[in-house]
């Protein structure tokens, strides 16, 4: 394969929108995505969902725009490669990926690299969160999207945010046995009228959808003032115990879905060693980019939720903006300034709706329910107490804690533990930073290295 002009990692709304722009401008564009079909998390298995009437009834509403985005990128000439896991990347730029379909590792040295790797769920840790049966609501939704799988047995959801409300509605529609919601959010919205109005004006459909979902939650018993949550069971979840405004509770359940919003997926940007900043309000790391998504003066851009959470609609617009910026850098004569401006204006209008989400559901302190015995790093089984002790003994940064405790050293390379580790550091008065990531980004079978060829 000759080197592409533009390599895009992630075929969600941002990656697809950017690919449509760069490919239309005559830049050879390849989009790599780890799923079996383009669409990203938000439009996972888009083709299959469309063809399956039962799944389409439950999920259909959130898939609006999926087909148009996929078709636009393909029609412009972008090559969409599914089942490809990013393994390594450098700001040169250069990247190595595992093609699970064709097999083996492959590499490319494009002129521009766009990381559109989206969001991941903020970890919600508490005693027992590692028990089988406890999972993120995102994982429940993936099962629903991928194979139409509905959890069998009683289900409890805990946390807050739009995705929790959406999955609650989708599970209800799918006939799940929903027993309760343990709500992190307040009974009364804290947004002001002006903010609400601006959000409605910017994205009325989104606000209407949100309102519908909030109201739909009333069908399930909602507990507030939730604290001291424990997931209990022998080999898997059997019941949960917690304190609430309604007093101490115990609920038998087979499944507990947890969620406290989403944060940028920084696995790829940390692998590249790009600078990140700590977002105090959102309690997460965010890569530092300019208004077009470019990381400093490198040939690397970041678009969509990966550069700061904005939601699917904004991700598509930011993908367009970045696509235009890449065209301007690589092929200035093909740059469509008017289209770039239109996308920018649309992004500004969509902004307030996201601001409303952030106001309504500020993330909880992720250590609020974490005692010293609670595991922080699931891969290496490192408990909060060990991490706190290491920080107290002078490990004042995430990588020092990693060396001292092995926290973040397992196969997931901090995907889960990093926000928790960062909070321990903040409480101790230290500055959270980026946990270094080592390639491969995902474990690679020895045999899959054969295709890279021995260089020496």
């Amino acid at each position: 394969m000759s080197e592409p002009d533009v390599a895009i990692v992630g075929a969600g709304p941002a990656g697809l929108a950017a690919a449509a722009v760069t490919a239309a401008a005559g830049l050879s564009t390849v989009v790599l995505d780890d799923q079996d079909a383009p669409g990203g998390q938000i439009w996972r298995a888009a083709g299959a969902v469309r063809q399956d009437r039962a799944r389409s009834r439950i999920l259909g509403r959130s898939y609006a725009g999926a087909q148009a985005a996929i078709k636009a990128a393909a029609a412009a000439g972008a090559v969409l490669r599914s089942s490809c896991d990013l393994i390594d990347a450098t700001p040169a730029p250069a990247l190595v990926w595992l093609d699970r379909g064709a097999g083996g590792l492959h590499e490319a040295a494009p002129r521009a690299l766009l990381l559109a790797t989206g969001a991941r769920e903020r970890p919600v840790a508490f005693p027992g969160w590692t028990l089988p049966g406890v999972m993120n609501v995102g994982a429940m939704q993936i099962a629903l999207k991928q194979g139409g799988a509905v959890p069998v047995g009683p289900v409890v959801l805990m946390g807050q945010g739009p995705l929790l409300l959406l999955v609650l509605a989708q599970l209800a529609k799918a006939g799940a046995d929903l027993r309760a919601v343990l709500a992190f959010d307040d009974a009364f919205p804290r947004a002001g009228a002006v903010q609400l109005l601006r959000a409605v004006r910017g994205d009325p459909a989104l606000v209407a959808e949100g309102l519908r979902l909030v109201l739909a939650r009333r069908r399930v018993p909602v507990f507030r003032g939730v604290r001291s949550v424990r997931a209990l069971g022998e080999s898997r979840l059997a019941h949960i115990a917690f304190d609430s405004d309604a007093g101490p509770q115990e609920i038998a359940c087979d499944w507990l879905g947890v969620h406290d919003g989403v944060i940028p997926n920084t696995q790829a940007t940390r692998l590249l060693g790009l600078p990140h900043r700590w977002d105090t309000a959102q309690r997460c790391l965010v890569p530092e980019v300019d208004e077009t998504g470019r990381a400093g003066d490198t040939p690397v851009w970041i678009a969509g939720d990966g550069s700061g959470i904005g939601g699917a609609r904004l991700a598509g617009l930011r993908g367009q903006i970045t696509g235009h910026a890449i065209v301007r850098a690589l092929r200035p004569d093909a740059h469509d300034a008017a289209a770039a401006r239109t996308a920018q204006m649309a992004a500004w209008r969509a902004g307030p709706a996201r601001a409303l989400v952030n106001t309504l559901w500020p993330p909880r302190d992720p250590l609020a329910m974490v005692d010293n015995d609670t595991v922080i790093c699931r891969c290496e089984g490192v408990r909060a107490g060990a991490v706190r002790a290491a920080v107290a003994a002078g490990a004042t940064g995430p990588n020092r804690v990693k060396v001292a405790t092995r926290c973040g050293m397992g196969p997931c390379q901090g995907r889960m533990c990093e926000p928790l580790l960062a909070q321990v550091l903040i409480r101790a008065g230290a500055t959270p930073g980026a946990l270094r990531i080592r390639p491969p980004l995902k474990p690679v079978l020895l045999g899959d290295y054969e295709t890279l060829g021995a260089t020496e």
């Binding site: 092995r406 474990p443 020895l446």
Partner: protein
């Protein structure tokens, strides 16, 4: 002369070599400050594969590493913390007749030097020790009391012992200039010291250059990979004659694969990145030797910056320009085994005593003499 900011000894470099020297000097009664530009164990020490190997060493290093081995056996007790040392033995396997001949020649050379630790194993001996090794292997050179340790645990143990011995560890402090006297200009201000040790590893030559001494030592990053845990299938540390390979299975079942493949060094960022194409070459060699590895998954590869000298040997010895300055850097990716020995040896030199093991030939002047030769040629 010691000022308010002064101390008996300043050790520059918080890797294992610097920690070992600081610990030995503090135990000898000196007031020791250790300066580390980033944080303790940041580079080669944490990235090490942890090999404790006397097998197939450079002839000049054999006596040193043989003297270091007994220290590893008692190291956990000495430091008061586990270092994960295991006397697993090490073997260098012959995969073809040419390799077998090379191992026989090596065994003869070591014997002629007066050492008896390297033993030739025939095919039966090799398979008795490593039953799961590939059928094509013909024999091996082995050392039974070699082994490996856990580099991170070793860093932690040395750091803890140094702190308990009273070493003042200053992290995030880099040295900008060294003036005779000795005065150090650092990012945390000027400091006076009776003596200074340059244990700056990959940056050791930069420090030497501050006092007008050149050493052909450059920063390189040896790359390493580790697999997800596998059921136990190998016993010792395995290399292969004529190939770049070092292979071992740790107690937790993971397999560390390394062996002289260099990562890409990024000087400005002070990092080395592993190159996946070289990981590919490395793991292919490993899988040929142990078929069970075909089922393994690589979960992480890394490279740590280390000083590499032109002749493959470390620089250990006094500075030729600044009295009181001693160099101990550039261990070329095999300094880990020497750590427990180098500390006491350098402490002896600081005290003006004859080191208990000869360090003749390791001094920085060896490079200057060679350069003179070239000029006169």
């Amino acid at each position: 002369m010691i000022s308010a900011q002064g101390t008996d000894l300043v050790v520059v470099g918080g890797g294992l070599i610097g920690l070992s020297i600081a610990l030995a000097a503090a135990r000898g009664g000196r007031q020791v400050r250790l300066l580390e530009a980033e944080h303790v164990g940041r580079h080669a020490s944490s990235a090490s594969a942890g090999g404790v190997r006397s097998l197939n060493r450079h002839p000049a290093e054999i006596a040193l590493v043989r003297a270091a081995l007994p220290l590893w056996v008692g190291l956990a007790g000495d430091l008061g913390a586990d270092v994960g040392f295991s006397s697993s033995g090490q073997m260098r396997v012959a995969e073809d007749e040419a390799a077998l001949a090379a191992l026989k020649a090596r065994a003869a050379l070591t014997r002629d030097l007066g050492f008896s630790h390297e033993v030739l194993q025939d095919r039966a001996g090799l398979f008795a020790r490593e039953p799961q090794i590939a059928a094509h292997c013909l024999g091996a050179l082995s050392v039974t009391d070699d082994g490996f340790a856990d580099p991170l645990a070793t860093v932690r143990a040395y750091r803890g012992a140094a702190l308990r011995a009273g070493v003042d560890i200053r992290q995030g402090v880099a040295v900008r200039a060294i003036m005779p006297g000795i005065t150090l200009d650092t990012t945390a201000g000027e400091m006076q010291a009776g003596a200074v040790v340059n244990a700056a590893g990959a940056w050791g030559a930069q420090l030497a250059a501050m006092v007008g001494e050149t050493a052909p030592v450059e920063a390189r990053g040896l790359q390493m990979s580790v697999t997800a845990p596998l059921p136990p299938f190998m016993n010792g540390v395995i290399g292969s004659e004529g190939r770049k390979l070092s292979l071992k299975q740790m107690g937790n079942g993971t397999v560390v694969i390394g062996g002289a493949y260099q990562g890409r060094v990024e000087d400005v960022a002070r990092v080395a990145r592993p190159v996946q194409a070289r990981v590919a070459a490395n793991v292919a060699t490993a899988a040929r030797l142990f078929p069970p590895l075909a089922q393994a998954r690589i979960v992480r590869s890394w490279a740590g910056l280390e000083g590499w000298s032109a002749d493959g040997l470390p620089v250990i010895g006094p500075s030729g320009t600044v009295p009181g300055l001693i160099h101990a850097f550039g261990f070329c990716g095999h300094g880990f085994a020497l750590v427990p020995l180098v500390g006491p040896l350098v402490a002896q030199m600081l005290d003006g005593r004859m080191p208990s093991q000869s360090l003749t030939g390791f001094g920085i002047s060896r490079f200057h003499e060679k350069m003179k030769d070239i000029q006169h040629a």
